[in-house]
């Protein structure tokens, strides 16, 4: 099957009167990573939730490996894409392990209970994000960064071929930011996972993604390789603040002037 992991055709999305994108076309192949950048309120999260099938587009269609969400149904869609939300609300007490295990839901039948294998997968995911040993903690007692890593572990437990990440670096300290980006880079390289992530740091986008999608907030979008898109003039226009490019150890960084 050579259909792209996800493709959008003639996508038009808006929040009320405010246009996020008009006529957006793109597709993401196995192992590809795409960064979405834009100002606050430009519609990055809204676009990502449309891609995740949680909102419908005004016009156009999203397909996962060639099929749209209506054809797939929620369960099959959950085997093909995972979504990292920006906010995590825990109304009820629940252990860290229980929360990670929710990722197994699409893989279990209606009457199945989680098996030892499911628990092992969840424990492995918790270990991968550095939460080993916290399995029995109540999620309501976790710090913001720990809660964010738990959400990432839940996503790894789900194990879809396509990850849609809404600000995966939120609340994380620097070492965990790099660890998380390395984790998804590894998933892309070794398992052929596709990754689309909303980022606020152009330097990390350049370092960890193949392509970048710039959302200007007025309906204009630009898509291209990081080399083309992430330049001081482009980003200055995107953020409305002058930025300067510097290079260090082969990585490009953008510093506000």
């Amino acid at each position: 099957m050579n259909a792209p992991l996800i493709s959008a055709q003639a996508l038009q999305v808006s929040i009320g009167e405010h246009a996020v994108c008009t006529d957006l076309d793109f597709s993401l192949q196995v192992g590809e990573r795409l960064a979405i950048l834009g100002r606050n309120g430009a519609g990055k999260s809204t676009l990502l939730s449309v891609l995740a099938g949680l909102r419908t587009a005004d016009v156009g269609e999203v397909r996962l490996s060639g099929q749209n969400y209506a054809e797939l149904g929620p369960r099959e869609a959950a085997k093909r894409r995972g979504w990292l939300p920006q906010r995590h609300g825990d109304a009820f007490a629940s252990s860290v392990l229980e929360t990670a295990l929710t990722g197994r839901h699409p893989h279990l039948g209606r009457w199945d209970w989680e098996t030892n294998r499911d628990t092992e997968i969840a424990r492995g995911a918790l270990k991968a994000v550095g939460l080993a040993g916290l399995e029995d903690r109540d999620v309501q007692t976790l710090s913001g960064g720990e809660r964010q890593r738990l959400a990432i572990a839940t996503l790894l437990t789900q194990g879809p071929p396509l990850y849609l990440l809404d600000e995966p670096l939120a609340h994380l300290d620097l070492n965990h930011q790099i660890a998380v980006l390395d984790l998804f880079a590894g998933a892309a390289k070794d398992c052929g996972a596709g990754v689309i992530m909303v980022l606020h740091e152009p330097g990390l986008a350049d370092r960890y993604c193949d392509r970048a999608l710039l959302i200007h907030g007025d309906g204009r979008t630009e898509l291209g390789s990081c080399r083309e898109m992430l330049t001081a003039p482009c980003l200055t226009e995107l953020y409305g603040h002058p930025l300067k490019e510097v290079e260090s150890d082969g990585h490009r960084w953008f510093i506000p002037c």
Binding site: G73, P74, G82, P85, E98, R110
Partner: protein
């Protein structure tokens, strides 16, 4: 996460607790019947006081169990649906809506069927208002939900007070007992029991999906739950279950709030275990409370709703203090 074996163990324990509450309800009263006689009477053997056990106490115990189970199930489902541990038929003004309907029916001089019918409509009406205004995610919804419940309950309280004040003397006692929750006049416990069983059977296949729903709508949808369909189904079942409970026993407060919460504290929030455990615990609790209500000041009877409220109010205040959000 409880294993399947542990779940069965917990449920077996609670079921035996339910049986014990039945034994107490059938044996204890202004006339004590020894347990062996109770068993003999249940088996159809001719013993002294068989009529008291079979015709007075058994229907009432069954009705108590059914109502307690229904209220606890309704509370548990509403708490998931609204993602708020404080949701409960009484707190959200749904019992109040039923009260308005029932008072109106008594005032009009309607019979049992009329009272039940109008109470049912009142409960559905209150539920439509509360759920219509309080859907969605987010902190504001949680606040709005409780505010809506308070407003609906206050409005219903005013209407009930109005009807009580213009009611003729001879109808007042019946009205007051209905309002305080009363199991002595429940008609057919088998209907309530059958609806309880059917509602539990209908929700159990979706228990794991309810676990996800409690974590947020988008999260549940992203993990493969058909959120829209599930919410409508749970909404319909919770409404029906509440209306049946309130209709058959008047407004019995706080069972729907306290029971799921206590069960959650004891065994966690896995709905696969929480829902059946809440039904059993709620049934046993209300059966016991009703037995107490008719024995503490025997031969006088207390309305069982007074007892449950006396237990429920401090628990509710404690929960509010613990959830400052």
């Amino acid at each position: 996460m409880p294993s399947r074996q542990r779940a069965f163990l917990v449920l077996a324990l609670l079921a035996s607790g339910g049986l014990a509450s039945f034994a107490a309800a059938l044996a204890v009263g202004s006339l004590a019947v020894p347990v062996p006689d109770v068993i003999a009477a249940l088996l159809g053997q001719p013993v002294d006081n068989a009529a008291i056990v079979l015709e007075l106490r058994l229907p009432r115990a069954l009705a108590g169990f059914a109502c307690g189970g229904l209220l606890a199930l309704a509370g548990a489902l509403m708490q998931v649906l609204l993602r708020n541990p404080l949701a409960d038929p009484y707190v959200l003004g749904i019992s109040g809506g039923a009260g308005v309907g029932a008072m109106f029916a008594i005032l009009l001089g309607l019979g049992m069927a009329g009272i039940n019918g109008l109470a049912f409509l009142g409960a559905l009406g209150a539920m439509l208002i509360v759920f219509g205004l309080a859907h969605g995610d987010g902190a504001w919804t949680q606040t709005r939900l409780l505010l809506t419940g308070v407003i609906v309950a206050a409005g219903c309280g005013a209407l009930v007070a109005l009807m009580l004040s213009i009611a003729p003397e001879h109808k007042l006692r019946g009205m007051l007992f209905w309002l305080m929750g009363d199991l002595s006049q429940t008609g057919a416990p088998w209907i309530a029991l059958a609806i309880l069983g059917a509602a539990l059977l209908a929700t159990m296949p979706f228990a794991r999906e309810l676990n996800l729903l409690a974590r947020g709508h988008d999260t549940a949808q992203a993990l493969g739950v058909d959120v829209r369909r599930l919410r409508y189904a749970v909404y319909a079942i919770a409404s029906l279950v509440t209306a049946v409970a309130v209709t058959s026993a008047g407004s019995i407060g706080f069972v729907g709030l306290v029971v799921p919460h206590l069960v959650r504290l004891a065994i966690g929030n896995d709905q696969r275990l929480l829902l059946p455990a809440s039904v059993l615990a709620g049934g046993a609790l209300l059966t016991l409370a009703d037995t107490l209500a008719r024995t503490i000041v025997a031969p006088q009877q207390l309305p069982v709703g007074v007892l449950t409220a006396l237990i429920g109010v401090p628990v509710f205040l404690f929960l509010l203090a613990r959830h400052p959000r």
